[in-house]
C-alpha cells in the first residue's frame, strides 16, 4: 500500500479511542438537552470527579490520596472493572442527586439561572478535585491490553486493542441505552416526557422524576467517558476541559437533540482532532481543540439543528 495512504489509515485508527470518548460524552450532553433543553456545562467536571473515585477505588489506601483510607475500609483496592463500575454507579447517583437538589427547583425559571447553576457546579467540582487529589497527572491503569504488541495488523496499519475495547464499550452502552429507552416502561416514559412534557404529565407520568433519570443516565455515560479518557492518556483535573469542547462540538455537529448525531459527530470530531494537526502543522496537537470550536461555531451559525437534529422554529 502507498505510504501516504497507510499513514492515513494509521491515523484513522489512532483517532478511534478519542472518537469513542467524545461520542459517549456527547451522548450524555444530548440526553440532557433532548429531555430538558439544558446544556450541562458541568458534565465534564462531574465526570472527572467520577474518574478520580475510580482511581481511589483502584489504588486504595495510599499516602496523600484523599479518600484512600475510606476506600480501603470498603475493600479497596478493587480490580479495574469493578472499580470503574462502582465509580460509574457513584457518578450516576451523584448526577441524580444534583438534578434533584439544584436543577429541578430552577428548571422553569430562566435559561440564565440554569447556566449559572451549571457554572457553579463546574467551579465547585473543579476546585474539589484539585484540592483533594492535586493537579499532578496520575497514571491510570489501562482498561484493555495495551502492551506494545497488543494490536491487530490491518493492511500494515496497527489497530490497537485499546481502540477496539473503547468502541466495544461504547457499543455495549448504546445497546443498553436503546434497550432501556425502547423496551422498558421507564424508557417509554422518558421518551414521552422528552416529546411533550405536558401531554406526558396528563397521561400520568411523573415528569420530574423521569427527567431525573436523564441526569442519572448522562452522568453514568460521562463517568465512562472520563474513565476511558483517563486510561488512554493520564488522569488529571483538567483532562475533561478539552474533551468537553470536543464533545460539545460533536453534539452540535450531529444535532443537539439527536443521539445518532452525537455518535457520528463524535467520530467526525475525533478524526478531525487527529487528522487536522497531522496535515496542518500550525495547529499541532495542543491546539487541535481549535478546529472543534470552529466546527461548533460554523454549525451553530449555518445550521443550528446540526446534521440530524430537529429544525427549530421560533414563533414571534
Amino acid at each position: 500500500m502507498d505510504a501516504g495512504l497507510l499513514l492515513l489509515l494509521q491515523r484513522i485508527f489512532d483517532a478511534l479511542t478519542n472518537s469513542a470518548i467524545y461520542a459517549s460524552l456527547a451522548l450524555a450532553l444530548v440526553i440532557i438537552y433532548r429531555s430538558t433543553g439544558l446544556l450541562n456545562f458541568a458534565q465534564g467536571e462531574m465526570a472527572t470527579f467520577s474518574a478520580y473515585v475510580a482511581f481511589v477505588l483502584l489504588v486504595g489506601a495510599a499516602p496523600g490520596l484523599t479518600g484512600g483510607s475510606l476506600a480501603a475500609a470498603i475493600g479497596a483496592p478493587y480490580p479495574t472493572v469493578a472499580a470503574i463500575g462502582a465509580a460509574v454507579v457513584f457518578g450516576a447517583i451523584a448526577g441524580g442527586v444534583t438534578e434533584r437538589l439544584v436543577i429541578r427547583p430552577l428548571r422553569e425559571t430562566s435559561e440564565l439561572a440554569v447556566v449559572s447553576i451549571t457554572i457553579g457546579l463546574f467551579l465547585g467540582v473543579n476546585s474539589l478535585v484539585e484540592q483533594w487529589w492535586g493537579t499532578a497527572p496520575r497514571q491510570f491503569p489501562s482498561l484493555f491490553p495495551d502492551a506494545a504488541s497488543d494490536y491487530l495488523d490491518v493492511a500494515g496499519a496497527r489497530l490497537r486493542y485499546s481502540a477496539i475495547g473503547a468502541w466495544a464499550t461504547l457499543l455495549v452502552l448504546l445497546a443498553a441505552l436503546a434497550w432501556l429507552l425502547q423496551r422498558t416502561r421507564g424508557g417509554l416514559a422518558f421518551r414521552a416526557v422528552s416529546f411533550n412534557r405536558e401531554s406526558a404529565e396528563l397521561s400520568g407520568i411523573r415528569s420530574a422524576r423521569t427527567l431525573m433519570w436523564g441526569w442519572v443516565l448522562a452522568s453514568a455515560l460521562g463517568a465512562v467517558a472520563a474513565a476511558l479518557s483517563a486510561s488512554s492518556v493520564l488522569l488529571e483535573p483538567k483532562m475533561m476541559l478539552r474533551v468537553l469542547v470536543y464533545a460539545f462540538a460533536a453534539a452540535t455537529l450531529g444535532g443537539l437533540d439527536s443521539p445518532r448525531g452525537a455518535i457520528i459527530g463524535g467520530v467526525v470530531i475525533g478524526l478531525s482532532q487527529t487528522l487536522v494537526p497531522a496535515y496542518i502543522p500550525f495547529i499541532g496537537f495542543e491546539l487541535s481543540v481549535l478546529p472543534a470550536l470552529v466546527v461548533m461555531v460554523i454549525v451553530l451559525v449555518v445550521r443550528p439543528a446540526g446534521l440530524f437534529g430537529t429544525q427549530r422554529l421560533e414563533r414571534v
Binding site: 446544556l39 457554572i119 405536558e198 469542547v245
Partner: protein
C-alpha cells in the same frame, strides 16, 4: 439506532417565547412606571424614548454602600503596605472586567463565559505596546482596550446568530481554546511561561519615590480610569443605544420592528464589553509587570461570570458589589481555613480557601435566594416587571 423509535419532540425550550428570560435577572430598566419596558412596548414608538426623569430611588442600604465605598477608597491606601496596596488595586480594576461581562450578559442579553480572554488580550497588548514598542503608558493602555474591543467585535460576529445558551457554549469554548492558542504567539505572549514587562509607570518625583508612593500613584490612576469607565457605561446604558440594547435583550424581533439595527447594536455591545475587560487587563500590567497565559485559565472566565451574576446583572453597581463580594469571600475563605484543631471540620473549612469552590457554592445558593442578583436586593430596584 436509538433514534428511530424516539419521536421528534415538538415543543421544546427553544421554541417557547423566552423573551423576558433576562428580564427576570436584570434589575435594570430605569423606567419607574410599574410594568417598565413592557408597558412602553405597548405604546409603540415611545419604546426607545428616554423615560421621564422621576426620582431615582436609592434605598438607605444603597447610601450605606456608597458611604462604605468612599471610606474604602480613602482608607485602603492609607492603611496598606506597598504590597497590599498593589494587590488591592489589582482586585479593584477587575471591576472593569466584571462590568464587561455585565454589559454583554446583563444589558445585552448575550451570555459570555469567556471574558477572561479579553482581559488577557488587553494585558498582552499593553505589555507589547509599553515594553516592546516603547509607547507611553496612556497610549499602551488604550491600545490594550482597543485591541480587546476589536477582538470582541470579531467574537461578536457569531453572536449575531447564536443566542442564549448556545452563545454561552461558544464563549466557554473560546475560554478553553485560549490557553493553547496563546502559546502559539510567543513574541506577543511569552509562550508557556509568560513574559515580563520591561517598562514601569514612574510617578513624578514630587509624588515621592518610596515604593508605597509609587503604588499610591498607580492606585490613583486606576481609580481615575475605573471611575471614568463606570461613568461612561452609566451614560451609555441610559442613552438611546443603551435602551435599544435592553430592548434587543428582551425581544430582538420587537426591537428590530421599532428600528433598532440588531447587527450594529449587538456588535457594538459585545465590542464595548470586551474593551472594558481589555482595559482591566491593561491596568493589571501597569500594576504587575508580568503577563502570562497561566493567569487566564478557563476557570478565571467563569469566576468573572460568577462575580457579575452574584453582584447583579443589569446594574452598574452590581459589578462593583460583585468584586467586593469576591474579595470578602476570599478573605472569609482564608479565615475559615486558618481555623485549626477542629479535626474533620477544620479540614472541611480548609477546602474553602479556594475562590472557585466558594464561588461555585455561592453562585448556586444565591441563584436560589436572589434570582435577580444581590444588587437588586440591596438597591431595592427589584420590581416585578411582569406585574
Amino acid at each position: 439506532m436509538i433514534d428511530d423509535d424516539w419521536p421528534t419532540p415538538m415543543p421544546r425550550r427553544g421554541d417557547v417565547d423566552r423573551s423576558g428570560d433576562y428580564a427576570v435577572f436584570a434589575a435594570s430598566p430605569a423606567p419607574q412606571t410599574p410594568g417598565g419596558a413592557h408597558q412602553a412596548s405597548a405604546t409603540g414608538s415611545q419604546m426607545l424614548e428616554a423615560p421621564r426623569r422621576t426620582r431615582r430611588g436609592t434605598s438607605p442600604l444603597g447610601w450605606v454602600g456608597a458611604g462604605l465605598l468612599a471610606v474604602w477608597l480613602v482608607a485602603m491606601p492609607l492603611t496598606s503596605t506597598a504590597t497590599q496596596l498593589a494587590q488591592n488595586t489589582q482586585a479593584m480594576v477587575m471591576v472593569l472586567a466584571v462590568l464587561g461581562v455585565n454589559l454583554a450578559t446583563g444589558y445585552g442579553g448575550m451570555i459570555s463565559l469567556g471574558h477572561g480572554v479579553f482581559v488577557a488580550v488587553g494585558s498582552f497588548a499593553t505589555a507589547y505596546a509599553a515594553a516592546d514598542m516603547g509607547l507611553p503608558w496612556a497610549v499602551s493602555i488604550l491600545a490594550g482596550a482597543v485591541l480587546a474591543g476589536t477582538l470582541g467585535a470579531v467574537v461578536g460576529l457569531p453572536a449575531l446568530r447564536i443566542k442564549g445558551i448556545y452563545l454561552a457554549l461558544v464563549t466557554l469554548g473560546l475560554a478553553i481554546v485560549f490557553q493553547p492558542l496563546s502559546k502559539r504567539f510567543t513574541a506577543f505572549t511569552g509562550g508557556v511561561s509568560g513574559r515580563t514587562v520591561d517598562a514601569e509607570m514612574i510617578a513624578p518625583t514630587w509624588f515621592g519615590t518610596s515604593r508605597w508612593s509609587e503604588g499610591l500613584y498607580r492606585y490613583l490612576i486606576c481609580v481615575a480610569v475605573v471611575v471614568m469607565a463606570l461613568w461612561l457605561v452609566q451614560q451609555l446604558v441610559d442613552s438611546r443605544p443603551g435602551r435599544a440594547m435592553r430592548a434587543v435583550r428582551d425581544d430582538d424581533t420587537a426591537a428590530a420592528v421599532y428600528g433598532v439595527n440588531l447587527t450594529t447594536n449587538r456588535l457594538a455591545t459585545f465590542a464595548a464589553s470586551a474593551a472594558l475587560a481589555g482595559l482591566a487587563g491593561a491596568l493589571q500590567v501597569v500594576l504587575v509587570p508580568f503577563a502570562s497565559q497561566e493567569s487566564f485559565p478557563p476557570q478565571e472566565s467563569l469566576v468573572l461570570y460568577a462575580t457579575a451574576v452574584l453582584g447583579g446583572l443589569g446594574s452598574i453597581w452590581g459589578s462593583v458589589l460583585g468584586v467586593a463580594i469576591r474579595e470578602a469571600a476570599a478573605a472569609a475563605g482564608s479565615g475559615l481555613a486558618s481555623i485549626d484543631g477542629l479535626g474533620a471540620i477544620s479540614e472541611l473549612f480548609d477546602l474553602f480557601d479556594d475562590e472557585r469552590l466558594l464561588f461555585g457554592a455561592a453562585l448556586i445558593v444565591l441563584t436560589f435566594v436572589f434570582p435577580r442578583g444581590l444588587a437588586s436586593a440591596i438597591v431595592g430596584r427589584a420590581r416585578r416587571r411582569d406585574a
